[in-house]
Symmetry: C2
């Protein structure tokens, strides 16, 4: 559990241009994939492409240790759900032959959870709040079905990265329906929570439209929810995400008088934050697991 990337690899990551480009993705995964291959990035058992809805993108993979006992509520394992990024228009839960994002399922299983990686409908064919609706549908499916994989339907923690964090935040804020107050926690990794008129080139344009609904921002809902929240920002996240994280801190202070649970992911960039799981535990994995454990392993989950 204490794996850590060598300092020279962190230094190489930190030297990359932080702007979110195909080059950044390629360079990041080129640096990290050897470590994932060495550590192993697949859980003992992966049940793939389970349908949580009618769309071909309504699919999820369940990662387990292979024991597969039906535990039921109150006795099962925490369930860690991961919603990938990709600028609203791309991305998948699984790239065959590569660690993204089976590594997240493997990390969850190593930590004693059931791991779930899911995909969702994409823009431009689908627009706000389709992503939140898909998270809600997946959580609803898991609540009905995850006990068969050893998971506890009352201990679901949902995490999203980048556009995935936008969708999870939107779901927590109630924009996607379902019953978000029943999840045990949400981890919002490098997300966007305040939706303005998009500036040229901002990726949310395609999802929110040129004239976003004022109700589309999730921030107010995040400030009011009873769901425990963890936020993260990477040291090398682009400026937009830095502003979003600082904005959450300010708004949280105003609403609650406290600083929110914010993980500053040391040495990492927008792509490598989630890739740090398993191969660089102290960056994100340690505080994330602590958050999950706190809100699923005891009865005292009050914040």
């Amino acid at each position: 559990m204490t794996e850590q990337l060598p300092p020279d690899v962190i230094a190489q990551l930190a030297a990359l241009d932080p702007e979110i480009t195909p080059q950044l993705a390629q360079a990041t995964w080129a640096l990290l994939t050897p470590f994932h291959e060495k550590a192993g990035y697949t859980a003992p058992k992966i049940d793939r492409d389970l349908a949580y809805g009618d769309d071909p993108r309504h699919r999820l993979d369940v990662h387990t240790d292979g024991d597969g006992d039906d535990q039921g509520a109150g006795t099962g394992k925490p369930v860690f759900v991961f919603v990938h990024g990709g600028g609203f228009v791309r991305g998948d839960k699984h790239t065959p032959g590569a660690p993204q994002y089976d590594l997240v399922g493997a990390w969850a299983v190593r930590r004693g959870y059931v791991g779930v990686t899911m995909t969702y409908r994409l823009s431009p064919a689908h627009v706000w709040p389709a992503g939140a609706q898909d998270v809600a549908a997946a959580v609803g499916w898991l609540r009905q079905n995850i006990a068969a994989y050893g998971g506890d339907p009352d201990k679901i923690v949902v995490a999203g990265n980048s556009a995935g964090a936008v969708h999870v935040a939107s779901y927590v804020a109630g924009q996607g329906g379902g019953d978000p107050a029943r999840i045990a926690g949400a981890a919002l990794l490098s997300g966007i929570y305040q939706i303005h008129q998009p500036a040229p080139g901002e990726p949310e344009h395609v999802y929110y439209g040129a004239d976003p609904d004022p109700a589309a921002s999730s921030l107010r809902g995040l400030l009011e929810t009873t769901v425990p929240l963890l936020f993260s920002v990477a040291e090398r996240d682009p400026a937009r995400f830095q502003r979003e994280a600082a904005g959450v801190v300010s708004a949280w202070l105003g609403r609650h008088g406290t600083v929110p649970d914010l993980v500053w992911v040391e040495g990492h960039n927008h792509m490598s934050t989630i890739a740090s799981l398993t191969v660089d535990e102290p960056a994100l994995g340690t505080p994330l697991a602590r958050f999950i454990d706190r809100h699923t392993r005891t009865k005292e989950t009050a914040r």
Copy 2:
């Protein structure tokens, strides 16, 4: 290195009234001391009460593994200096028979550093910037003398908690003289960085006076320094410290366009943050050690 407090102890800590009172100190240490006694809170060798100046409070303890080799610059261990809190008017580096603050030295040695715990002149007899001057004097002494204890004078990281963080911040901002730009890093744990007209009962009154010098705030200096900085705020820090941490985030974003390295110390209070070292590593110890290692163990220390 992976010790973690039981969840029920964290829950008991979190249930304490966060206001800084003798009761909070007593209750916190009562909860944590058994864990420190079990884990051990003294380094193999402690050289006590070394004088770094003329005042009886100009004393420091050096904690080592007992090897004691004179390593010299470039080959010695990182040096971790801890400046205690106590509302400017009390506190000590060492309470005989209790873990505060030998535990910090023990943690440092376990992490491979030389540990230093220091004390400083107190109010009301001494006022701003006496604390910063004392930190500067101690660092100057260490630069001359720590090689004899196996420490590298060019790898000094200075941490302060509460009033100690105020003094370290003030030193980093140049208010105490010396050559703060030469230290390898500073960790500011639950500090105050913006000095206003004190409200009744605010402890800094006694140190800064009723009409503080406008130059006394360290925030501007912190924004401009080249010294790597880590900030922390405890989940259960009182409102004043929450505001200070959020204020640093806002100001840092404005100056640098990024979020600073901020550790949200999960489950802990103003007293237990530093007590978490050794007995609850993931809360503060893991990110703090990562910060120290990053800025002392490689030549690439650029932020």
